[in-house]
Structures are given as structure tokens and as C-alpha cells.
């Protein structure tokens, strides 16, 4: 890595990397939480409507803890690093004003290219089977990665992960049961479950992509690949779902290159703060 006297010290670079990773975890949680909350009032039956909104709340709660920590990490960066960290104009304006940033700013003032969530999580709800498939892939990943993150050398990340692991265990049980119920259900439900799995499969590679900072926090994507596949194949075999044949994986979310769907999410999520900056109610 090139460095000169004007750029950040190694410890500052490490702090920036940890901030990016924290934001990635937070963005994953916010975006899936938002997607699941879109089901509120639209669930196929009341009990499942409640299940999804409860789960959405767990994700949003985790997002809050992570954004609070990300804001704390950001506010400690040297000013040059701060100025260059975000490309979104409203964030740059806020930072130029010299104020500290907070959790709400991170959620409301960043444009899509500053969001680092996995592409899988921004995919639309489409139907019940797509919603279940998306959650199942992510819940299995969360369950495994939170186990690892619980031992992260970063005490805040470790605490959030240990708390979230209990919730992820519950989420995974729920999504597993639904994959089986639909896959091993009627001809129609099986067909839809298989289609959702096939269509979303190309977004799963990104979850387990090996990353240096993830590894430093205890999550080794390549080492988790097999345990993740074990969970998937076990449930698929019980659900009579065929493993998707495709091997091409679409990535980009971790670098801020998103599918067209994220923009629509942010338009809804951020409208009030963009139209009426700093508003509270």
C-alpha cells in the first residue's frame, strides 16, 4: 500500500476499514429490515404478517446498534479521511459543517453508491417464495457469521453479534420451515419456491466473498462456504428443491454498485430527511 506523509497512518487506515465493514453489516440489516417491513399489512395470513414485521424489527434494531457504532468510528477519523469517505453530497455538506454525524444521517443522507449492502437483500419481495428464499439464504449466512463475529477482537462488533446470533437462530428456523413447507407442498408452491431459489442464487456468492476486514473480525468467507452450503443442501433435500445449476455470481454491492432496486428503496426510506433536513417527530 502506498503512503506518504499526508495520508492516514496505518492505524487510521485500519479504522477506516473497520468503519466500512461496520457499515456493510449495518446496510445489510437496514435493507433487509426495510424489505421485510414492506410486508406489513400484506402478509398472506395475520400470523405471518406479524412474523415478518417482528423479524424486520430485529434487523432494524441491529442496524441501529451498528450505525451508532459506525458514527462513533467515523467521528474519530482524522478530518482529511472524513472529507473523502463519502461521495454523497448531503453527507459531504454535513461533514463540511464540522458537526459530528449520527446513526440517522448514515441511514438517510447516503446515496446508493455509499451503501454497501449485499445485492441479494435489496431484491424485491416479488412473492412469498422469493421473500422466503432471500431470507433463508441470508439467515443461514447470518447464523454462521454471527457465531464467528461473536469472537471478533472488536468488542462492540462482538457484543452486537452475540446478541444478534440468538435472533438469527430464530429467523433461520422460521425460514427453513417455510422453504420445506413450500418446496414439499403443492405443485404450485413447489414450482414457485424452485423458481425463486433459481433466480436469487446468483446473488448468494457475494455474501461469502472473502474480505480482509471480515476475516480480521473472524468471518472467513471461503471457510464458511461449506457450512453454509450444508445448511442449504440439507433443507433443499427435505424440501425437494433442486440445487441451482448456475455458478455465475453477481457482485458489486460491497463496492456500492447496486441493482436498480436500491434506488427505489432509498427514495422511500430517505424522502422525509431529504425534503425536510433534520426534521424530527
Amino acid at each position: 500500500m502506498q503512503s506518504n506523509t499526508n495520508t492516514a497512518s496505518p492505524s487510521a487506515a485500519a479504522a477506516e476499514a473497520q468503519l466500512k465493514y461496520t457499515l456493510q453489516l449495518a446496510d445489510d440489516a437496514l435493507i433487509i429490515g426495510h424489505r421485510l417491513s414492506e410486508w406489513c399489512g400484506h402478509g398472506p395470513i395475520l400470523e405471518q404478517d406479524i412474523a415478518l414485521t417482528n423479524t424486520a424489527l430485529d434487523h432494524l434494531g441491529r442496524a441501529r446498534s451498528l450505525y451508532q457504532y459506525a458514527a462513533e468510528l467515523f467521528n474519530k477519523l482524522p478530518s482529511e479521511a472524513k472529507n473523502n469517505f463519502f461521495t454523497s453530497i448531503p453527507m459531504q455538506q454535513l461533514i463540511a459543517s464540522g458537526n459530528n454525524i449520527g446513526e440517522d444521517n448514515l441511514a438517510s443522507l447516503r446515496d446508493g453508491w455509499d451503501y454497501r449492502n449485499a445485492l441479494l437483500l435489496e431484491q424485491p419481495n416479488t412473492d412469498w417464495a422469493y421473500t422466503i428464499a432471500r431470507s433463508f439464504f441470508y439467515d443461514a449466512f447470518n447464523y454462521l457469521s454471527f457465531k464467528c463475529l461473536s469472537d471478533s477482537p472488536d468488542a462492540v462488533i462482538a457484543a452486537i453479534a452475540a446478541k444478534s446470533l440468538k435472533e438469527a437462530t430464530y429467523h433461520l428456523r422460521w425460514s427453513k420451515e417455510w422453504v420445506i413447507r413450500l418446496g414439499d407442498g403443492t405443485e404450485e408452491s413447489h414450482m414457485r419456491m424452485q423458481k425463486a431459489v433459481d433466480d436469487l442464487w446468483m446473488y448468494t456468492g457475494e455474501l461469502l466473498a472473502p474480505e480482509k476486514t471480515a476475516r480480521q473480525n473472524g468471518v472467513d468467507g471461503s471457510a464458511l462456504r461449506q457450512p453454509w452450503l450444508d445448511i442449504i443442501t440439507e433443507v433443499f433435500s427435505e424440501a425437494n428443491i433442486a440445487m441451482p445449476a448456475g455458478t455465475w455470481m453477481q457482485e458489486g454491492g460491497r463496492d456500492g454498485r447496486h441493482t436498480e432496486h436500491l434506488g427505489y428503496i432509498l427514495a422511500e426510506l430517505q424522502f422525509m430527511q431529504r425534503a425536510y433536513p433534520g426534521m424530527q417527530w
Binding site: A51, D58, T169, E177
Partner: protein
């Protein structure tokens, strides 16, 4: 002002979603620090959320603030402590008794003995104590509860999930 005194006062703060229980019964208060002498005492209360997104935490923090202000605490900090993660194992026996009396079936096994797929938690009816009950929904009106119905007395009831 002592830690014991502050803890005693905190017994009056109820969980807004389960008003039968105080935040001490639930194990939400992790610690209280009191520094300085009477007039200049400053108090720090450490609380932990039951679930990551529990919306009751903001209300609980506000209730603590109002209550302690009423007892003359001028310098108060409320810190959220995530580690170790809250578990229903911390709920006191007294808490479980109050919960049942209130009509909510208390957690009945140790957390982290996960259920198998499609396995239903065996829960007794808090009203008639019958073991003939049926799960209606794994998720309930708040994150911490599941919905059941009693097949003996036919009443629906909530179960405080093991977590």
C-alpha cells in the same frame, strides 16, 4: 445516595409491554453506579435490551429518567450495555410467578436448547394449567412473545419465549 437505594427505586419502573414486571424482574438493569456525595451524586444506570429492536427500550430509559429525577437525582446517565446478551434465564422466579399471574405463560426451559424444525414448545395454560395447548404463531404482538391457545379452557394466551 447509594446503589441499593437506586435499585430499590428502579423496582417501580415497569416494562411498558409487560406491565406486570419491573425492569429488575426482567433482568434489564445490569448495573448501577453511584459516585459523589448526596447533592453532587451522579448516577449511571446500565440497561440491556431484550431484543435488538425492542421499542420498549426508549420508553424504559425515559421512565428511569423521570423516576430518578423525582427522587432528586440531578446527574444521570443511562448506558446501553449489549454484552453479555440478555437471556430469559435472567428473569427472576418472582418475575415468572408475576408473569403467569398476569396471564402470560413464562419461559419454561433454559435458553439455547433450540427446538427442532416444526417442533412445538410445550407450554401450560397460565389460566387453567392444562398441558393441552396449541401454538398459534411463533411470533406475537411483541418480539418476546408467541401466541398459543388452550385446548381445555379454550382461552388464547401469550407465551414469553425462551430466548
Amino acid at each position: 445516595m447509594t446503589k441499593e437505594q437506586v435499585m430499590k427505586w428502579l423496582e417501580d419502573v415497569k416494562d411498558p409491554e409487560v406491565p406486570a414486571l419491573s425492569i429488575l424482574d426482567l433482568g434489564i438493569v445490569r448495573n448501577v453506579l453511584v459516585t459523589g456525595d448526596n447533592e453532587n451524586s451522579s448516577v449511571t444506570v446500565f440497561i440491556t435490551p431484550t431484543y435488538s429492536g425492542c421499542p420498549a427500550m426508549d420508553v424504559i430509559a425515559m421512565s428511569i429518567r423521570m423516576l430518578l429525577a423525582g427522587h432528586g437525582v440531578k446527574k444521570l446517565a443511562i448506558e446501553q450495555q449489549l454484552s453479555p446478551a440478555w437471556t430469559t434465564d435472567w428473569m427472576t422466579d418472582e418475575g415468572k410467578r408475576k408473569l403467569k399471574e398476569y396471564g402470560i405463560a413464562p419461559p419454561n426451559r433454559k435458553a439455547f436448547q433450540p427446538l427442532g424444525l416444526f417442533e412445538e414448545e410445550k407450554v401450560s395454560c397460565p389460566r387453567c394449567s392444562s398441558d393441552e395447548t396449541e401454538l398459534v404463531s411463533q411470533f406475537g404482538p411483541t418480539s418476546c412473545k408467541a401466541l398459543y391457545k388452550c385446548l381445555s379452557c379454550k382461552e388464547p394466551f401469550e407465551h414469553f419465549k425462551c430466548h
